[in-house]
Symmetry: C2
Subunit: 467 residues, 2 copies
């Protein structure tokens, strides 16, 4: 293995150049004008996998919009390994990225990757998708390349699945997994889309939050109205939207939907203590982004609020006049993009219905509502007894020189739940991003350390899983 | 006078053509790129007034932004009339217009006036500013033209003041009136910027609501955040903005700011009965715009809610991701344009301070706010004993063949209050717009009837005020 690690060290610059090529493709999955770019990114990955001895191809998906292709690859030694009873891993990542707005806040162009030193002095790669998730995807592919280059084969059987809709609902993933069960089933899934709790502590994320994402649009008058002529008497959708949104949390930050907390467990004291050690105060999580106080449910620390408590957020809101100056108008419409983050135990469909019922029940005369779903997925928790968990923790600890920990993650990675549901196997989430990587924000970045030690980590994990 | 009325009837087409010329100038006062258009509109009016024997010129204003010129004109017989003790009127209108968004809802171009038949079969002129206020301004100028053409002089001394910032704060008007007191003082102001209660009942508006218009912007994190990584723990300015806005009205629609209703009087039973006759139910006001229920303060009819009760409205709100699809982001900022409509007796500056104190007092940790004022003006009520009120009511009744009534108006026309304050005289608000003229909205229109009988009404009013 040390030869493989040495090869990784030698090849750092070339690996980074390959990542830059992928980052240059603006594969924004939620924007229709980038449809072809998503296909280009998928095709680029297929070519890359083929160069390192994978049988790889794109698969069209047709169950839902937007329908960006899946990339699937299998190492050519898989068949032989299957006969030998060797461990088989399925790696998952995604090649699509978030939109780039607000564009004026980027210091460099989002799809022209460049190298900078960040505020903390570490060297980083700056580009949309650097950290979420193209950089992380390439840590695994580069680890495979190194094994292949040095030994001509991987230590375990490896299949790779790369999705193009993780940032836009991902509704095709589950039906795709179900339709390709035989092709994709392995012993364990390895998902690389998470962050480390700090610069030096490697982690396996053992719980994730799911999401219910809803867009609502309220409509009242048949046109925008003069707020003098009609103000008070005419229903104002922008005001009513604020009222509905406001009512979703109480004074203590708890979400008010009936049954919302059904099935939600409070973490055990040992876990809370471990997390309190990693994040001694709220600022330890929030200071990076200029905040210092946990804003959510009272009685829980900032890290608990994001790792193990469900949340409600306004992701976007708009209505009426938003340009320069002032316009005394009552808008005819107002809309909002809202999301709930769910922890294991909560039922996403039940919560979506409770939300819609709440809105309908509180809608006054003259006002109508439309709902658009932008996805619903359950929270996820890894089997603590998984035979692959200990091996992976050990490999990570050796690479980083510090004991690896298990953590939660506030984000949604529906694939973890869906892999379990469709393929009947567990998933280990191992990622090397940092909290200050600005993911989903301007100036997204991925550290040289993350990328390089990420590759080395996978080299070790693949070896550990073979034992 | 009948010769003058006959002249107006003969000259209808030419009068409309002149109005079209004015409507073609996109004098949007709140948008910087239309600064020169505002100046062009002012200059067009100066030329027009000169052709009918007025000494007219533009006056630069410099006290506040945006600084669009005032147009002032005096009929050349004014000096002689002053010596003879003849009545002197000051006419007020405004040549600036609202922005045109949302542009896609216009059926014709906002600044290419055209003639259409509206849903109710009446012929209308369609253009931004047709009704608010260029069409109304031209009713008066055309009445003056007719008197001059037929008799070579007006029946009373006439001065004209046309503002270019009525739709954008109008902060220069009061200092301008104060600085030009000697030039502008008259016996009575005539303001043409209001609507008739229905197609056939002429009205003098005797009360107006003032406005406090505020823009607030809340800022939390130093950048947009991933709502998975930070959702719950990070302060969400879009949610907090909703919460602040929601809290400004209680369950009964009353505004919650301390002292907000200080000085607010309930109208007498006779006035309420007169209004109930004009508007027998809420739909009589609201049906035109597709609504049917009074949405504001319980215990008041729709017309009372707009004519004599103060209100709070969200005129615009924005924050986070508003484009296609979904972005799981916690916005770093969210902002809203908010306004209070005030009735006579309320103190706008006190209410602005109460609003700002409410926001500051309810702002959680980590969140900062900025306030931008977009104007503050008091409500207004006409002296019921004004010697000019009866004469004007009588002239209107004669023109329209139906008794003229006194009404309220929910809009703000700060000039009425400011004329009283700066020039020490009362103001009569006479207008010919209709509730369904779509002012401040797409497809703004002004009826042929409004324009033609508006001109004829002023012909009669000028005569009546001379007696």
């Amino acid at each position: 293995m040390s030869d493989v690690l040495h090869y990784v060290d030698e090849q750092q610059d070339a690996a980074r150049e390959r990542l830059f090529d992928l980052l240059r493709i603006p594969s924004i999955s939620t924007q229709k004008e980038h449809r072809e770019d998503c296909r280009r990114a998928a095709q680029w990955l297929v070519e890359e996998l083929r160069t390192i001895g994978f049988a790889a191809e794109t698969h069209d998906v047709k169950w839902a919009e937007p329908g960006h292709p899946m990339v699937v690859g299998h190492a050519d030694e898989n068949d032989a390994y299957a006969k030998a009873g060797q461990t088989h891993v399925l790696f998952y990542g995604h090649y699509d990225v978030q939109p780039t707005d607000p564009d004026h806040l980027w210091h460099s162009k989002p799809f022209e990757p460049c190298i900078k030193e960040d505020e903390t002095g570490r060297k980083v790669i700056v580009a949309r998708g650097a950290s979420d998730d193209k950089g992380q995807v390439m840590t695994f592919i580069e680890a495979c390349r190194a094994w292949k280059a040095v030994h001509g084969r991987l230590p375990v059987a490896v299949s790779i699945l790369l999705e193009g809709e993780e940032e836009s609902g991902g509704e095709n993933l589950l039906p795709f997994l179900k339709a390709h069960q035989a092709d994709l089933r392995a012993d364990i899934a390895l998902i690389c889309d998470t962050a480390m709790p700090n610069r030096h502590t490697p982690a396996i994320t053992t719980s994730l939050r799911g999401t219910v994402a809803e867009e609502i649009c309220l409509t009242a008058a048949k046109q925008d109205l003069h707020s003098g002529m009609y103000g008070n008497a005419a229903a104002n959708p922008a005001y009513l939207l604020c009222r509905l949104i406001s009512g979703l949390r109480d004074e203590t930050g708890r979400i008010t939907l009936p049954g919302f907390y059904d099935g939600v467990a409070v973490p055990d004291e040992q876990t809370r203590a471990q997390w309190a050690h990693l994040y001694p105060d709220d600022a330890a999580l929030l200071g990076e982004v200029g905040l210092s106080h946990a804003a959510g449910e009272q009685g829980f620390s900032a890290i608990e609020q994001t790792w193990c408590r469900p949340s409600f957020e306004v992701n976007g809101i708009g209505g009426g006049y938003q340009d320069d100056g002032f316009k005394t108008v009552i808008p005819a419409q107002a809309s909002a993009k809202l999301s709930f983050r769910l922890v294991p135990g909560q039922d996403p469909l039940k919560i979506r219905e409770a939300f819609r019922a709440y809105v309908r029940d509180n809608l006054p005369e003259d006002v109508t509502v439309t709902f658009t779903s932008h996805g619903a997925s359950a929270g996820f928790a890894v089997e603590k007894e998984s035979p692959y968990l200990a091996a992976t923790l050990k490999a990570l600890s050796e690479e980083w020189g510090e004991p690896a920990v298990t953590t939660g993650c506030g984000g949604s990675i529906p694939v973890a739940e869906e892999v379990r549901h469709a393929l009947g196997m567990d998933a280990l989430m191992v990622g090397f991003a940092q909290a200050d990587d600005h993911i989903h924000s301007p100036n997204e970045q991925y550290g040289f350390e993350s990328f390089h030690h990420g590759i080395r980590s996978w080299v070790r994990i693949l070896a550990a899983l073979a034992e």
